[in-house]
């Protein structure tokens, strides 16, 4: 038997630190990040420190996505952090969209403060002739480079991605969801035809949707943004939208068809097979550390983080329960082949025989950190040839024969992954509805949820809804029936229902 008494004493103690979702969702989110040691605010305004455990999850996200990008023919490269102001302003809409949130480098040297020993001041003599913007996104710097790379149709397509940090000076920041500096990937592709560029844009939003559903176990709706929510400089923005547990929407990834806007701004032309010159067609697409926020808010509960096995840095934690070296050795002898067999199946295992922590502390720790499966084994279990298996997602505990544990855990990996998706999917289905009355909408939207409503297609109506309800059009869904109707606000004709929701 396991010393479960200790455990039950300790788990609530740890869980106590976590605000309940029902009490304060936003505080719960911060508590989860803190208790699972994912990230913290730094002393640099709006910037976060991503802690090792949080970063290990991000590395998993990155590795899976990177593989998917490479499988779809993309290569990685790296472009400068700095965008000279003259390049930045070349594509006017893009510049206008980001100008208000740009960190700007104006000087390149510090010097000793003559009035204050040991302190430094900006050296006024080291002022840059042209200011440098820290990239909020890299279209400008990349299209200025593509100009040199593209002459002929033979140079196309260019299918490049970069993993980088970007800076957008946000006034209100939240860990992972909105930070001044964040990590992301940005794909930037160049094509000979409009159709090919659109195909690429759609291919990549599909890659994002597949990643979200398969690895993050997070159901998403693919759609188009309305004009007012479009990326600055894009002709069309595709997005994936997910529903968080507070029934708010989170935009988890975007893929932009940029038309010839950047090619025109940077004068990037190519000669086709007939020698005719034309501007190049472009796309860009990105996801960021924001996905970490989406992951947390999709699955976690009042006990801590819940991770889908596909993204868990530790998939199985094994806690030995023992008194003295001899018992520990007996457990080790029994468990070592189990560990080896699990690892041989590609499952990451942590055997935690840290002598400074009690088993109950460890149980709470792995629960808080969202480790999908926790095994525990003590002397009595050894005698009976048993082991305790605890699932993080359902919090079920079962005791099974140690001979079957490898296969059991292997099956659990898939089962937990599927169960998390199913749960999130059911939650979303339960909180999405068609609505035709604006009055009803105004009441219901207060509690969150996704609403499929007819919209007259104007920015005015969209703005009115936003002002009156804080809800925005999350997307014009790509799939589903194209049912005609009347705008719920103005009664004007509408081709299709769109999704209204409050959003992160």
């Amino acid at each position: 038997m396991l010393s479960l008494l200790k455990v039950t004493k300790t788990i609530p103690k740890m869980a106590e630190k976590i605000t309940k979702r029902a009490d304060d969702y936003s505080k719960w989110y911060n508590d989860i990040i803190k208790i699972a040691e994912l990230a913290e605010h730094s002393d640099v305004r709006g910037c976060m420190v991503i802690k090792p455990y949080g970063f290990a999850i991000w590395e998993k996200i990155k590795d899976h996505l990177d593989k998917m990008f490479k499988e779809t023919g993309h290569q990685n490269a790296y472009f400068p952090l700095f965008v000279p102001k003259s390049l930045f302003e070349a594509e006017e809409k893009n510049a206008e969209g980001f100008a208000k949130e740009c960190a700007v480098v104006t000087h390149y040297r510090l010097k000793n403060d003559p009035d204050n020993a040991g302190k430094l001041i900006v050296d006024p003599e080291a002022k840059l002739e042209e200011e440098l913007v820290i990239r909020p996104t890299s279209e400008a710097v990349i299209w200025n480079t593509y100009k040199k790379w593209i002459q002929s149709y033979r140079d196309l397509p260019i299918l490049i991605n970069q993993w980088a940090n970007v800076v957008r000076w946000e006034m209100r920041t939240r860990l992972f969801l909105r930070t001044t500096e964040f990590l992301w990937q940005e794909g930037h592709t160049a094509h000979a035809t409009k159709d090919e560029a659109i195909e690429e844009t759609e291919k990549m939003i599909n890659v994002y949707a597949t990643f979200a559903e398969k690895y993050m176990a997070m159901p998403v709706i693919q759609g188009l943004k309305s004009e007012s929510e479009r990326f600055a400089g894009a002709v069309e923005t595709y997005c994936i939208e997910a529903m968080m547990q507070d029934k708010k929407a989170l935009q988890a990834g975007t893929s932009h068809f940029l038309g010839q806007n950047f090619a025109k701004a940077f004068d990037v032309k190519f000669s086709d097979k007939e020698g005719k010159l034309d501007y190049v067609w472009a796309t860009s697409w990105g996801v960021s550390t924001r996905l970490m926020g989406a992951l947390i808010m999709t699955h976690s509960d009042d006990q801590g983080l819940v991770l889908p096995p596909a993204l868990a840095p530790i998939q199985v934690a094994i806690v030995p329960i023992y008194k003295g070296e001899e018992q520990l050795e007996q457990i080790k002898t029994k468990i070592t082949p189990v560990i080896e067999q699990l690892q041989a199946k590609g499952i990451s295992v942590k055997f935690d025989d840290d002598d400074n922590r009690r088993p109950g502390w460890k149980f709470a720790e792995y629960e808080a950190k969202g480790v999908p499966v926790r095994l525990a084994i003590g002397p009595r279990d050894l005698e009976n040839g048993q082991i305790e298996v605890a699932r993080r997602d359902t919090q079920e505990k079962t005791t099974i024969s140690i001979d079957t544990v490898v296969e059991h855990v292997n099956v659990l990996m898939e089962e937990i992954q599927n169960n998390l998706f199913k749960k999130a999917d059911e939650f979303r289905h339960a909180n999405i509805e068609k609505i035709d009355s604006y009055e009803e909408f105004k009441i219901k939207i207060k509690d969150g949820g996704f609403y499929l409503a007819h919209w007259d297609g104007t920015a005015e109506t969209e703005e009115r809804v936003k002002q009156e309800t804080k809800a925005t059009i999350r997307c014009i869904p790509l799939e589903g029936e194209k049912e005609e109707g009347k705008c719920m606000v103005t009664g004007k004709p509408s081709d299709q229902r769109v999704i209204f929701a409050k959003a992160y």
Copy 2:
């Protein structure tokens, strides 16, 4: 038989673009980077664009190092790009060392230029209260964070690494070797004892040396820096130094024992087992995209890049020589199992049936890009059951039975890796010598080379040698005899020979 005529016509054409090492080493270096499509200068002062092929090599470097860091117990994390000026200046020596090359963010917004439609200006109303330095290195921001993480000996050691971009405003830049922005990793560790920190410092310089020799096939000398070459803020700097083909030294990695300097600057104390408070001991260590420059200059020749198999994005290129679909199909049928068997051995293969390029063009391309092994197969080879194997390192070509090619190539991978190391090692041995006469040194150093000479240990002598010969003390070697003698410049007593060389 292969159409070798075409090949011999094409190779020289491509090689013609490359300046010979003997004619202008520096121009040769730039030509290699250009022809192998590794990187290029951007329009952003001193910043480079790392092109896909160059980045693929960097990814290999990164992956191997990352694995080695994790195997030695380190975890990755991420800290902010920005260092507030007050944090930056906290460790005075470190601040002094980097103050002259800091990019400084002073504003956080652009606005429309009222005098110039479509143009932007820095918004004077968006001036930061405290300027932000773009990290030239992250000790300040990290130790300011560690302060919050460390209370007790139980919180130690902290073994963290980050992969990041850093900025140092360099006046004279060279691709990979010295750029304003560069990519690197920086390890930052915190320890309870001085001995443990020194052990970590030495462990990591060993990791770097192992990586350089095993993966880059680049022999290095481990040593200590003299005081004047030490990292700003370090108590001791360990380094690895490699010899380039122009007999100049290149510092390829450094590992710093920081003592308690940063702990004191940021007031980071811990209580030991007895409850006594003491400052924490620190190390930091890093390598950067500079390794790309070292890799290029260690192995490449007048025909192009030469890559060790361990870091080659494409290890084997296969070029079919054919006329028409039918011949190509026959070749494919024969070669597909070969490709599969090579891949099963973990060898990366590119089968290049691009119809727009002639075989000779492809041969030259893979030669320029340093692909370790190139196979070619035509209809005559098919008849004879043969295939041509070309080694990039020795430029040897042999024709062998296709039945043995998989094993042959597999053996070649190791053979080429070893041969490149051996060649570089022999070159270094041939160009390193003991020297006792400063007069002789002054003449010989003009042609490069490493010189083991006695030095009186003073910064004055070091500076004099630098002024008179441009040579610096590369390191005080960790290995080798500790022979006493007299300083070659001043005749004062010396404990040990040090290495003088001109350096990148």
